[in-house]
């Protein structure tokens, strides 16, 4: 049955193996064979991939606008850009997860339409995600051949599978027991299992998304050695990373994306770190942020030496009434973890939190809500709302004690409150009884806002307040933030969008690898400064 998933070449390959012609089959498959097949006299100039004028739109958003990208045979091409610049979208188009809206893709000079991830695989394009795509309980061998298991007499031929897997991994310079479940392997080894899997599927183009983010120094060096080895066999690699030092070590060329556009492709030797950062950051600042400054009031929240094993290290800051404190940082820098720790959703290992100068022990969201903190999570659908419940039920969920006596909820009081927030926030819904799943993203976000307005929170933590909502609703959310600060509410705003951080904050903290790496007053900050700080400079 598993054969159905494999192409003909692979079938015959295993057929050969099982008919004794092991050596021939393996020889025809090894990197040395690749070299003779694919390399040309001047491999550097041969293009393995051309993506031209690629355009991708989502409803209301242009994710990629006329992006061209080429990949030479045997090169490591770095793809650089801020969060949301379009790197993942471009790579998802290449790996078949998304369909482009317009543009052309050529592989080795031939135009192709990449229809699905499966199809991309058949075309020799492999992708290794940051979160590895392995079945943790299965062995390395089983993972490598998942869906393409060598069969004999209708059963999986384990020994052939394990033999092949060891051989593949050995060629990559990895010595592991391929029978062990991959969850017992180090992250670096798991990554190599993924690489081996891609190679076993004849990948000629490998996309690596932040491959070093979970590796130690030593493992990174190992990985780079493997990458160089792959290059030598003519495999072309698209390498996505934020770590500037690495780029210069492993890259041949670099392409910078910004706001869905290609803002430049360079030989790595021809650019400097500073130039790259400038290219990434130099976004147009339009006046879409109706920031109104409120006078800074008294201290609302003070965090001292907050640490959580592995994610947050010795975080200290003070938040004042009436101010918006922006928190910038790359994905994985600990921004959301910080918000969750303050809100009591995750345990902290050490550190103190003071509210209005008083030490507070916040062990759970209940405590946080009780001490006047509201948290608008980054993902409304999985964390902020109960989608199947009505607008009214969601608005009232953290606040039932206001409306309940002896555990019985007063419907009329609830309805009045919910209706007033629907009016105040201009939530577009036919009725407060409408299930929130039927509302648009912007209106859903307003329902979450309504929850915390209703709870009379004095500190609002916004995690990506405008992610995935339309321009009109964005402006309304900013307007609401202004109204909040005017009333003396303190706002902590996490955002991946630097213009948003710059446009709405009074003060900005920048996080890098679980630490606060810098603090700026909004008027002194620029995108470039923030980005440099977020990159650990």
């Amino acid at each position: 049955m598993a054969w159905k998933h494999c192409d003909k070449a692979q079938r015959s390959k295993f057929w050969l193996i099982h008919n004794g012609a092991v050596r021939r089959a393996v020889a025809s498959w090894s990197p040395s064979r690749y070299r003779s097949l694919y390399s040309t006299d001047n491999p550097v100039n041969k293009l393995a991939l051309q993506m031209q004028h690629i355009r991708k739109t989502f409803p209301g958003v242009i994710a990629l606008d006329d992006v061209s990208f080429t990949l030479r045979t045997g090169e490591v091409h770095i793809l650089l850009g801020e969060n949301g610049a379009g790197k993942s979208t471009l790579m998802k188009i290449l790996s078949g997860a998304y369909q482009k809206t317009a543009g052309e893709i050529q592989l080795n000079g031939q135009a192709v339409e990449i229809k699905s991830p499966k199809h991309a695989q058949e075309l020799g394009i492999g992708i290794i995600y940051q979160e590895l795509n392995l079945v943790p309980q299965l062995s390395a061998a089983a993972n490598i051949f998942l869906g393409c298991e060598p069969m004999r007499f209708g059963l999986i031929d384990r020994s052939a599978m394990e033999r092949e897997a060891s051989r593949l991994l050995n060629e990559l310079g990895i010595e592991i027991d391929v029978r062990r479940p991959v969850q017992a392997l180090s992250i670096a080894a798991q990554q190599m299992v993924e690489v081996a899997k891609a190679i076993s599927l004849n990948a000629r183009i490998l996309i690596m998304d932040e491959p070093t983010s979970a590796l130690t120094e030593h493992e990174i060096n190992e990985l780079f050695a493997r990458i160089r080895q792959l290059k030598a066999t003519g495999v072309s690699i698209v390498y996505i990373s934020h770590r500037m030092e690495e780029l210069f070590e492993i890259g041949d060329r670099v392409t910078v994306l910004r706001d869905g556009k290609n803002v430049g492709t360079y030989n790595i030797a021809d650019v400097t770190k500073a130039e790259l950062i400038r290219l990434m950051a130099n976004r147009e600042l339009t006046n879409q942020f109706p920031k109104v400054r409120a006078p800074r009031g008294e201290e609302a929240l003070r965090v001292e030496h907050l640490s959580r094993d592995g994610t947050l290290h010795d975080i200290s800051f003070t938040l004042y009434r009436g101010e918006v404190l922006g928190i910038a940082g790359l994905l994985g820098s600990g921004r959301t973890e910080l918000a969750r720790a303050i809100f009591g959703a995750d345990k902290i290992d050490s550190g103190q939190i003071y509210r209005n100068g008083q030490l507070q022990l916040i062990h759970s969201p209940q405590h946080a809500i009780h001490s006047g903190i509201g948290f608008l999570t980054e993902d409304r659908k999985t964390q902020g709302l109960v989608l199947a419940l009505s607008v009214k039920d969601n608005v009232c969920l953290p606040n039932l004690n206001q409306f309940a006596r002896f555990g019985v909820v007063s419907n009329s009081a609830e309805n009045r409150a919910a209706q007033s927030y629907v009016n105040e926030l201009r939530i577009k819904t036919p009725s407060i009884r409408q299930q929130v799943v039927n509302l648009s993203g912007g209106n859903q976000q307003k329902v979450v806002l309504g929850k915390w307005l209703c709870s009379r929170a004095e500190i609002f933590i916004f995690d990506e307040p405008t992610r995935g909502i339309d321009v009109g609703s964005k402006a309304e959310i900013y307007e609401i933030i202004n109204q909040l600060t005017a009333k003396g509410v303190a706002v902590l705003m996490i955002s991946s969008e630097l213009p948003e951080i710059l446009g709405m904050s009074d003060r900005i903290l920048v996080m890098h690898q679980g630490r606060i790496n810098g603090e700026f007053m909004a008027e002194d900050a620029t995108q470039e400064k923030l980005l440099r700080c977020a990159l650990g400079e």
Partner: protein, 315 residues
């Protein structure tokens, strides 16, 4: 509430109700005995036990959980109460201990799930076996029989020609409906099942309320044990076998989603009645109990298939 909203909120129940009515009409045509007062009361009487258990099951399933131990907890509660009755403990106290035993079983389930972080299926599967074993050990495998007429009145008595168990059942459904729609416990039950993470981040004490829901489910098993013991004039350690499946079936036919977050007890009542009417009708038609199992299984499957098709068409 406007009629359109009524339809959206209770549309699923109208569908189930229509099924019940069609089923009753068919049986009325096929057998004249079906639509007699005595037979209908008989159906109601026979439905009470499973219907009461199914209320607790509905709460549990709305939280996206499951309770496989209801039948076994019923048996333990029954034999404990019966033994106390026979030892001459005042009946009111014995009944309270019976309810308390059920509550305890349920709370233990809840603690295993919330504090022990076990999946509900596993926790209650373990409880199903442990409680059954406890009932057998406690009675050395023998039934505890013979009670006062006063106690038996709970099962055989009538008020205004309506059997007492039917009144108890209707009371339970009335209260449960109120709890689900009008109280914090009810709202949190839906919120936990709909999105546990969002509930936690909204400050809902999810552990407490989940434990309460399982406790409630256990207590209702205790209540069912009282009625069953009074009816049979005997508490059996092997009572309530497979009741969990009937209760789950009634809940699911009634439109409660196993993925949690939605469901009503009114739907469950109709679901329990459908199973009861079906059994009764098949008996009247002299269809063997072997075939009955096939029919009831098919009804469960068809009901859920219809439900899914309906939901898909609405989206």
């Amino acid at each position: 509430m406007k009629s359109k909203e009524l339809l959206i909120h209770y549309g699923r129940q109208f569908g189930t109700l229509a099924g019940l009515i069609v089923l009753s009409l068919v049986l009325w045509i096929l057998t004249p005995h079906f639509l007699t007062v005595s037979n209908l009361l008989n159906v109601a009487q026979q439905t009470t036990i499973v219907a009461i258990i199914a209320v607790g099951m509905t709460f549990v399933i709305i939280t996206a959980g499951i309770d496989l131990s209801v039948g076994s907890v019923l048996a333990v509660a029954g034999v404990v109460m019966a033994t106390l009755l026979q030892k001459g403990v005042p009946p009111v106290l014995a009944l309270l201990v019976g309810l308390g035993t059920g509550l305890l079983g349920g709370v233990l389930n809840g603690l295993l799930i919330t504090m022990g972080k076990l999946p509900p299926f596993i926790a209650t599967l373990g409880m199903m076996s442990m409680a059954r074993g406890a009932a057998l050990v406690f009675t050395e495998g023998r039934p505890v029989s013979g009670f006062s007429d006063a106690f038996r009145w709970i099962a055989v008595g009538e008020v205004l020609y309506i059997p007492v168990p039917v009144i108890v059942m209707l009371l339970v459904y009335g209260i449960a409906h109120f709890v689900l729609t009008r109280t914090k416990l009810g709202r949190y039950t839906y919120a936990i099942g709909g999105n546990e993470e969002a509930a936690i981040l909204s400050g809902v004490n999810v552990r407490l309320y989940k434990t309460l829901v399982y406790g409630l489910c256990g207590m209702l098993s205790g209540l069912a044990a009282i009625i069953l013991t009074a009816r049979l004039n005997s508490a059996q350690p092997i009572a309530g076998m497979m009741y969990e499946l009937d209760a789950i079936a009634a809940t699911v036919i009634g439109g409660t989603s196993l993925t949690g977050g939605e469901g009503t007890v009114l739907g469950t009542l109709i679901g329990a009645l459908i199973i009861g009417v079906l059994r009764n009708g098949l008996n009247l038609l002299d269809i063997s109990s072997f075939v009955q199992q096939i029919v009831i299984g098919a009804v469960i499957v068809v009901a859920v298939l219809l439900d899914m098709a309906l939901k898909a068409s609405r989206k």
